[in-house]
Symmetry: C2
Subunit: 449 residues, 2 copies
């Protein structure tokens, strides 16, 4: 109780409450900390009370070392083969092992620090992380990079259960959604600040998804999961949709009513050909062909506007948080492009538009900054990726802000991917309603560096 | 011999030569028609002699009907299930069957027309198309859309063996690389014009690929092929690279010398995470994760310039032919983006830059047209797709023309895809040299509509 004894000296009244451990906290606030939450919503400053969860689930990423081990084991190769193969690929076995150990040590450090504060900790591999774990925990700690953070967040439906990301390999991953990297190895400090209330709550607005019509399969598939769970995966995709429907005789009118998916998107929804067919039907080559060669066909309606046919390399719909991620890379302009546009403008008008590097850079920066918006923003930003324009397909608006986007799939083997991590089938006849709701905010922590 | 008798009346001297059928043609020109070729290179006008091959291979696409049949048969479903499933997906079984029959009838029409001219015809499914077929034929006819045309062309290494595309479903596919659609149902007319020399040869410059280093597998994989050849495919990827190397004990220094791949690219080379791992090791979910979520890491050197680290959603290197295809969609700007750039420019300079629709449209068109170049152009155009810029990765030039591009893979499970149709592994330690050579032109036919 180092952290808390320190705190007692500083702000006894508050701290006595929050440091009584989980039972007391539960009695006073309930596991969902609603009062705390409200107190913060009313003030944009730091919380009046500190925060100390009684039960914390630590969800750990799969390291590349673990990944390579699994895949080569699957291919029937020995540890020796793995070493040779990695050497061939220019990456050293010992190097991967080192990164793996760094991650493992950081996780240990975090878990120890939590237990030292009398917090009940459960360590879960990302593959084992599910709704039960979420229900059990007062707060969930993602131990990995942004990918892990996104998956962890996607399953937390309450806006009161905090999700905190710790970057367990700061040298190698950016971890924009995680705490400042110094807390990775100084986690007790982070705990103290939480206890003292020396932090800010940040509610990140997320996206919810309704699916209706045919050609869908609401069984989510974790794209990050490893080989080990391949069987469940094929099941989710092959068996569920078809055979089981034939058994239950619901092949015709299955999933006709809109259903809210049990997942929220923190970064973006991506719709496109095609991530499931290869698994569902194992037509890999055709599949790859779809992915690389064939565009996605769909109809889109923005804010209840008219339906518009589209053909493109997919469709991205992002949050403010996601506006700095993939969506940014889809939409940002290079100085080169901006310079060429200005050159053409200058040539056509004869006006004295400057083309020096400073100016081009300034225009480029302004343009690209305009693509980023606040994590709390209640609007979504949609981008039609690499639109294909021909007689049939319009490209009136390539992107823009929206409160509601409806998409009707005309794809053969498409799916909808939430935060690059979870996939849902989304084929001909399926309709997705993508929107935002006040309740879908994600509670995260902002700590000063 | 209708077509040719017509011709005799018009241009006896020439026609007697070209209409003697394959044996005579071979004697005079050889199967490669070199003299003809030269005569055309010297004149940009129509050929002095007509063209009539003795042996034509007709390579047919796989229709969606055939595809759906194969995949559902693979999933153990009956014809009845297929009908129900397609209905669920909003596409009718009879509709697919109709498209399939249209294609089949057009192929029949083409084959009959050729045989009526005494031409020796071999009809081959795209899955069966290989080097032997190419060697046998004097000319190769692709019966499908652009996808089929690209695959057919990729295996023709000689610049003297003509490849002609016929669009067998004009209502549904664009077929930019095919003859004008009216010849699909009036193929004898096309033959007459060829015979009479009423056409232009168009030599389309292609890309060649050298691979060296480790982490590669020069066994090509046809991404378009169907389920039926799945076994070969897995073999190409799983067995070849590893087990066989272990058997031969070449695991260490395999593929260290540069090897020229037996394929030419008519549209583009795309390098990126990751199209082979899912097949090689069946780690679908991780794979998808790589594809969607993880960027590609590589180093690039343009025209023997310095190596530069890159991180992006892949790298595309296209020909003049390909500059109208995927590369165009990767690079083109929407009016919306151009308008915003001009707006910012206007705001920052205070200059009276017009922002009316006509002007924005004009700038946009000029910009996008500048992305397209001639099919015969000896230069390549590279595009770094959705580059990711951070402390480590520069984005100095996002795209440009080049005579030679070298790429060093830093990917985990990447591959190099030729014309969206053929895939090669391209992982850590692999180096690709991408260039153009005079010999790699593809001989195609231009017929007026």
């Amino acid at each position: 109780m180092v952290a808390c004894s320190l705190i007692r000296m500083t702000r006894r009244s508050v701290v006595n409450l929050v440091c009584l451990g989980n039972r007391a906290v539960s009695l006073l606030y309930g596991n969902s900390f609603r009062p705390l939450h409200t107190s913060v919503c009313n003030s944009s400053s730091q919380p009046k009370a500190g925060f100390k969860p009684g039960k914390v689930a630590v969800v750990t990423k799969t390291t590349r070392y673990e990944f390579e081990q699994q895949r080569y084991r699957y291919a029937g190769l020995s540890e020796e083969d793995l070493k040779q193969l990695l050497a061939m690929k220019g990456s050293s076995y010992s190097g991967l092992l080192e990164r793996h150990n760094i991650h493992t040590n950081n996780v240990e450090h975090i878990v120890k620090s939590l237990r030292r504060e009398g917090i009940d900790v459960r360590v879960v591999k990302r593959g084992e992380y599910d709704e039960k774990v979420v229900r059990w925990a007062d707060a969930i700690l993602s131990a990995g990079g942004d990918g892990t953070m996104l998956l962890v967040a996607s399953k937390v439906l309450s806006k009161d259960k905090p999700v905190i990301g710790v970057n367990t390999d700061p040298e190698r991953s950016e971890g924009h959604l995680c705490l400042p990297v110094r807390y990775t190895t100084a986690f007790p400090e982070a705990l103290e600040k939480l206890c003292r209330g020396e932090f800010r709550w940040l509610w990140r607005q997320r996206i919810r998804l309704h699916l209706e019509g045919t050609g869908i399969n609401p069984t989510p598939v974790d794209l990050h999961e490893q080989q080990l769970s391949l069987e469940q995966h094929s099941q989710a995709h092959r068996i569920t949709t078809m055979d089981s429907q034939r058994r239950t005789g619901t092949l015709h009118e299955s999933f006709s009513k809109p259903s809210l998916l049990p997942i929220r998107s923190l970064n973006e929804i991506f719709i496109g050909e095609s991530l499931s067919s290869r698994v569902k039907l194992k037509t890999f080559k055709h599949h790859v062909n779809l992915l690389l060669h064939r565009a996605s066909y769909y109809e889109i309606s923005v804010d209840d506007g008219p339906w518009e046919k589209q053909k493109s390399s997919g469709l991205s719909i992002c949050t403010g948080t996601g506006s700095k991620a993939w969506s940014y890379n889809i939409n940002k302009l290079a100085e080169q492009a901006v310079e060429e546009v200005l050159k053409i403008g200058k040539f056509l008008t004869g006006l004295d538009i400057p083309l020096n590097h400073e100016f081009v850079e300034k225009v480029t920066d302004e343009y690209n900054e305009s693509l980023v918006f606040r994590p709390g923003d209640k609007r979504m930003f949609y981008s039609i990726r690499e639109p294909i324009v021909n007689r049939v397909f319009s490209s009136s608006r390539q992107r823009g802000f929206a409160n509601k986007v409806c998409v009707r799939s005309r794809c053969w083997d498409a799916c909808m991917v939430v935060d690059g991590g979870t996939s849902f089938e989304f084929n001909d006849g399926a309709i997705a309603t993508i929107s935002m709701s006040e309740e879908d905010q994600l509670r995260t922590v902002v700590l000063e560096n």
